[in-house]
């Protein structure tokens, strides 16, 4: 297992590096002079030159790239043009909002999606199956911001049960989490269904049934356990997607999350924030992918063994210790 974790860790660092290089290169080509953005249009030439030497803006591409990566490791994302405060602190102030939103909706998505998917697969072509698959296809087709507005319309404006905007107590979070959770569950449900359908016809499921195992245990222990890998994959992908896509729901519910922060910074041409925010989201996604990889190993022993963890005989292992 240690070898498996080590291998994944190394590949994660490479992916992260490559992602950061791509983002930096994209932002490198942004037109305009950062020094003037920082100081304002009326800055003196001396002041601009001073900033240039201080931030090293005249250095070649590779030097700046190296410095950017070094700063990233030290959690220094530069200074926001707009607020003149460190970007990292600003991002951290908004991070809990986005994290609560995405984690909450992913958990809700798993709960709804996996159970609906199992029911659909076990009772294939039944009325449940048809209803669930149609609803999930609808959920995958509806824009999240539209869904958010429909929920606001029904639960805030017509019924008056829940507040429409803000982020204070639990009840303020229900609508945003439900919006993203329902959409997330649509994808998880579709994957659970198709993955379960493949597994459920395998010989070992029939064997378990022949042994007289209860249906519940067959579905959970034999079928779901083996169907779990694609479900994990799609859950990880949705989690990353929600982290990036939360901007839409944050916009509708006026939540102060990272997505909204990046969006506002784009219109103010506050590029350090855009670069820092995008890098932070990508960093999170790489970590999520790493965790999902670890879970693959935990769920499926075959994947663990693929990474060269050889089964040692007792004598060999004693010798090595």
């Amino acid at each position: 297992m240690a070898r498996f974790i080590f291998n994944r860790l190394i590949s994660m660092i490479f992916v992260l590096l490559a992602t950061l290089v791509i983002i930096f290169t994209l932002m490198y080509f942004v037109p305009g002079d950062p020094a003037i953005s920082l100081l304002g249009e009326n800055a003196t030439i001396e002041a601009v030159k001073d900033i240039h030497t201080k931030l090293g803006l005249d250095d070649p591409y590779l030097v700046r790239l190296g410095r950017c990566l070094w700063d990233f490791v030290h959690a220094d994302f530069g200074i926001s043009y707009r607020s003149k405060t460190p970007v990292f602190g600003e991002i951290m102030a908004r991070y809990p909002t986005t994290l609560k939103l995405t984690l909450g909706s992913t958990i809700l998505g798993i709960l709804i999606g996996v159970s609906a998917g199992i029911v659909s697969a076990v009772k294939q072509y039944s009325i449940f199956d048809r209803v669930f698959t149609t609803i999930s296809l609808f959920g995958a087709s509806a824009p999240s911001f539209w869904l958010a507005m429909v929920l606001v319309l029904i639960f805030s404006l017509w019924l008056g049960w829940l507040p429409a905007t803000g982020s204070y107590e639990l009840k303020y979070w229900l609508l945003p989490v439900f919006t993203m959770g329902l959409q997330c569950s649509a994808f998880i449900m579709r994957m659970t269904r198709s993955s379960m359908l493949e597994v459920i016809r395998q010989d070992y499921v029939r064997t378990a049934r022949a042994k007289g195992q209860t249906e519940m245990k067959i579905i959970i222990n034999h079928a779901l356990r083996n169907a779990l890998i694609p479900i994990l994959t799609v859950t990880g992908m949705r989690l990353c997607g929600l982290l990036g896509g939360s901007v839409l729901v944050e916009t509708v519910f006026a939540l102060p999350g990272i997505g909204k922060y990046i969006l506002d910074s784009v219109s103010f041409q506050d590029y350090p924030v855009v670069q820092g925010g995008v890098m932070w989201i990508c960093f999170n996604c790489v970590v999520i992918t790493f965790i999902i990889d670890m879970l693959y190993g935990a769920v499926d022993p075959r994947i663990r063994s693929m990474y060269g963890v050889k089964k040692l005989s007792r004598r060999q292992s004693v010798k090595e210790v």
């Binding site: 992916v15 490559a18 992602t19 791509i22 983002i23 994209l26 932002m27 080509f29 942004v30 296809l137 609808f138 995958a140 087709s141 509806a142 824009p143 999240s144 911001f145 539209w146 507005m149 429909v150 606001v152 319309l153 404006l157 990353c240 997607g241 982290l243 990036g244 896509g245 901007v247 839409l248 916009t251 509708v252 997505g259 990046i262 969006l263 784009v266 219109s267 590029y271 855009v274 995008v278 989201i281 990508c282 996604c285 790489v286 992918t289």
Partner: protein, 281 residues
């Protein structure tokens, strides 16, 4: 065993899927609506009428009127032009580039690593984050939104094409083509590409639905189509402020988006069932 080509087999199978055919008909219908929008609209989509502002749906205005007194039905019909043409235009461009890259990666091993590593990294980034990053660099406009959407969808096509082309490449008829002296271009375009089409078609259909959603999302947050153009995502955004007094302003364009993505996804699922070789036995 049938002697017909795999494609006509798939078409025959698709025809038995009633709802997939209904989806196909709806897509063709939406295309016709987009093309003939100027004839079909009861009012000019930009004509403002301050005497009927925020009117609820009625016989004169089946979908009501917006805050400038513009007819929402006409705007939805006209909006189909932007959504359909951006959707299908982008995905076609992304498919052409992505398939080319995928074929190159599969056929020329020396390019494989570099192309696929970049593809992996771009696929690993959240779509919305990548879109916002590209548009932040290029600036907000329709053209830049189209470029960003294209770039985002190229990797999916490259990956799907490469995977399929790699299995086709090792089959005997490719060896035969090499033996009779066919050049690389001929092998790629006449032999590998036609035999790799099935998953590309499925990807095309499912991605179009996705792309329509992303383009509407970008317009919604103000990074795509700009007012006063009647794009569906933008219309939802404009209707947001009137949710209490005129809910239909935001809800109806959303239903139009859902209709389009729903039928595209349904057709995509149907195509996948029809083209899946595992089910074709």
């Amino acid at each position: 065993m049938s002697r017909k080509s795999p494609m006509s087999n798939a078409w025959r199978k698709l025809k038995t899927n009633r709802w997939a055919m209904v989806s196909l008909v709806i897509i063709v219908f939406l295309f016709l609506v987009a093309i003939f929008a100027p004839i079909l609209t009861p009012y000019n989509y930009a004509a403002q009428n301050y005497e009927s502002v925020l009117k609820a749906p009625s016989l004169a205005h089946p979908f009501g009127t917006d805050n400038f007194g513009r007819d929402v039905l006409s705007r939805v019909i006209y909006g189909s032009r932007y959504t359909m043409f951006i959707g299908f235009g982008c995905i076609t461009a992304a498919a052409v580039i992505g398939v080319t890259l995928g074929l190159i990666a599969a056929y020329f091993p020396k390019f494989d690593n570099i192309i696929m590593r970049v593809v992996d990294i771009v696929i690993g980034m959240p779509t919305m984050t990548l879109l916002m990053c590209i548009i932040a660099v290029l600036g907000v406009s329709i053209t830049n939104m189209v470029i960003a959407l294209c770039v985002t969808f190229i990797p999916n096509f490259a990956r799907v094409t490469r995977a399929q082309a790699l299995t086709v490449k090792n089959q005997e008829f490719i060896e035969a083509a090499v033996a009779i002296g066919a050049n690389d271009r001929r092998i790629l375009l006449k032999h590998i590409l036609p035999n790799s089409l099935a998953p590309i078609i499925v990807e095309y259909s499912l991605s179009t639905g996705n792309l329509v959603l992303w383009s509407a999302s970008l317009s919604f947050i103000g990074m795509g189509v700009q007012p006063p153009i009647p794009e569906w995502g933008l219309m939802i955004s404009a209707g947001r402020g009137y949710l209490r007094s005129a809910w239909f302003l935001a809800i109806i364009p959303g239903l139009a988006i859902i209709l389009l993505t729903f039928v595209l996804n349904y057709l995509g699922d149907g195509l996948r069932d029809a083209l899946d070789p595992r089910l074709n036995k």
